[in-house]
Assembly symmetry: C2
């Protein structure tokens, strides 16, 4: 086994999920995540936790879903398992990222609806989602297998304590501030100049640990729920939206709403998203990617949106964690992230103060206001 | 996928476990049993059952057990999962049959003891244990992979309805009878001539279905709990006992107890078993193997003891299913099967009537009393 899989397991069990002796833990092992599964089992044994391992196979799911005819129901056993668990560790990494491509979306939705109680029970645990580097994910990323392993471990095996301290600075400024402005002015791109309010909203320091309300490993972003967006944004990082490749998206906001849009590729997929419901034309999230272990796009949102020196804006649903108790943020059936590179020819301001210029934050040595 | 895996899944779900719409089913998928897992998921979807798939990985178990230090406990989540399940389908077929060889037996026992409640909950479901033909099991059997697949499917894809009717004949004779005598007289072997009482005991028609109190697929044996054994038995089918190969065992019984023993190979392993406790020197089981799809020894007790035209005797614990309500059968910490070939130069009598000669039963066309 790659020694880094053991380190991955240590980070997952110790830093991310904060597992303690006697905790009842579910480890969900995808088809090709066996090595990480073994490493996590070893770590859970060392900690003295109790383990149930489930098999997270997309191919089993596809077979079940396609053969099933009639109304779905969640089993009592599925619900009982989750309701009695303290933590749920999802080890992604299947054999084929498109293994369920031929399952009808109505079937998925019916299954998903029948399992909402199970899903809520899972969200009530200290859940963490991570991936084992597999050949299938390497292929999705357009990378060689060895190269992709290096990429994943660079992203996962960070000094999370130090990164969380750096991110705390950004969270503090976002929490205190009222208006965020993002500007990019590259010669080869349309200009981005957009402002949005964050007044009264609480940013999340997403440091890949349940202790920070952060449930992805890797993570490394600070995000909040903006509103009253105005201006133009150009998203130069390619994305996959509903299985369609989308490139070079341009959005125009007026009075908080998308009033114009264009994309060089996949514009129809973008249009479908924006037409989902009223909230799909408003922002649900502003996120600053701060994980510099992630230095390239791999067509996997778990990694892409955390990439260092990027900013992402999501149209659609806002997260409760960003909202004051009792306040409703933007509502929508969708939440679709779009990413823009701010590593050069760019700056981010909060209430007129530049907090990042050309990918360097104000608390970093080579920052120039 | 091998079409026979789908047929295997149909037999497992339909004939063996008798799964119905709405049943809460656990499918435990071993490391290399993925294809059978997919076929079973498809079958469960078609039936309309609810599925939780667990990952039955010996390598995960080993990692957990070896790292764990201190007292084991079963998780509430593990117990809740089993207590809320209607059926448990174990799909064996790992990558290495000796994957847990370096786990201390004290550790196994401590884990097993802590999980007795979980195990009982599992036994309270309609559980069925089967195996997917893997390269690892082919290797254990000393067979090529394709050859082993043919072997497994020949054993599993029987006409179980017809076989259960044939076995019902044998069960009836055993239930009505008092004394069983087994004789083999081959030139190249020591003679077997042994008698035992089955008076008051109930035979099980083990037809690979929970409807027959039979929890293995394949099955195909009729077994009961004998006592008052007298005589000599020569077991010519090789066995593995506690990871040691044992060949050509000879046991001498007097007044129900083993009073003499020998083996050409593995005599020490045999001796350890016989010295376990008082019950380890008495028989707990007499079984007649009737699955003629199994025509060779593969060093896997799930198959070997069901081999057509064999008889097995187990020293140690008797099964409750063979005993009258409230009666205690032979008690022991062990139950070790030993097998003898009765396909030629042999006969089996019940109360003086020959019921099988040279591998042919009285109800078969070419039987000669």
């Amino acid at each position: 086994m790659d020694e880094r899989a053991r380190e991955h397991a240590e980070v997952l069990v110790g830093w991310s999920a904060r597992i303690e002796a006697g905790d009842d833990v579910i480890v969900d092992v995808a088809e090709d995540a066996h090595d990480l599964g073994v490493a996590v089992a070893e770590e859970l044994g060392a900690v003295g936790a109790n383990i149930v391992s489930t098999y997270g196979s997309d191919e089993l799911s596809r077979a079940y879903l396609k053969a099933h005819d009639g109304a779905f129901e969640a089993g009592d056993h599925a619900l009982a398992l989750l309701e009695n668990a303290d933590a749920y560790l999802r080890l992604g990494g299947g054999r084929n990222t498109t293994a369920t491509a031929d399952v009808e979306s109505e079937t998925r939705q019916a299954y998903s609806k029948a399992h909402s109680e199970v899903r809520e029970a899972r969200m009530d645990t200290d859940w963490v989602s991570t991936v084992h580097p597999t050949r299938s994910l390497a292929q999705q990323a357009g990378m060689a297998y060895d190269e992709y392993q290096d990429f994943v471990y660079d992203a996962v095996l960070r000094d999370w304590g130090m990164l969380s301290e750096r991110m705390a600075n950004v969270k503090e400024r976002l929490d205190e501030g009222s208006e965020v402005r993002i500007v990019t002015e590259r010669d080869d791109h349309p200009r981005t100049d957009v402002t949005m309010s964050v007044e009264g909203r609480t940013a999340v320091n997403s440091a890949a640990s349940v202790a920070y309300d952060s449930h992805n490993l890797p993570s490394g972003e600070v995000f909040t729920a903006p509103y009253d967006t105005e201006g133009e944004v150009f998203f130069d990082v390619p994305m996959t939206i509903n299985a369609k490749r989308v490139r070079n998206v341009r959005l125009t906001f007026d009075d908080g709403e998308v009033v114009g849009f264009a994309a060089e590729q996949g514009e129809d997929a973008l249009e479908t998203v924006l037409n989902t419901d009223e909230g799909a034309r408003r922002l649900g999230e502003l996120g600053l990617g701060m994980n510099r272990g992630i230095d390239r796009v791999t067509d996997n949102i778990l990694f892409d949106e955390k990439m260092g020196d990027t900013v992402h804006l999501a149209v659609g649903r806002a997260y409760d964690a960003n909202l004051p108790e009792g306040e409703e943020g933007n509502q929508s059936a969708v939440h679709v992230d779009l990413i823009t590179d701010v590593s050069e020819e760019s700056f981010i301001e909060i209430d007129g103060d530049v907090i990042q210029r050309d990918g360097t934050f104000w608390f970093e040595d080579d920052f120039e206001a």
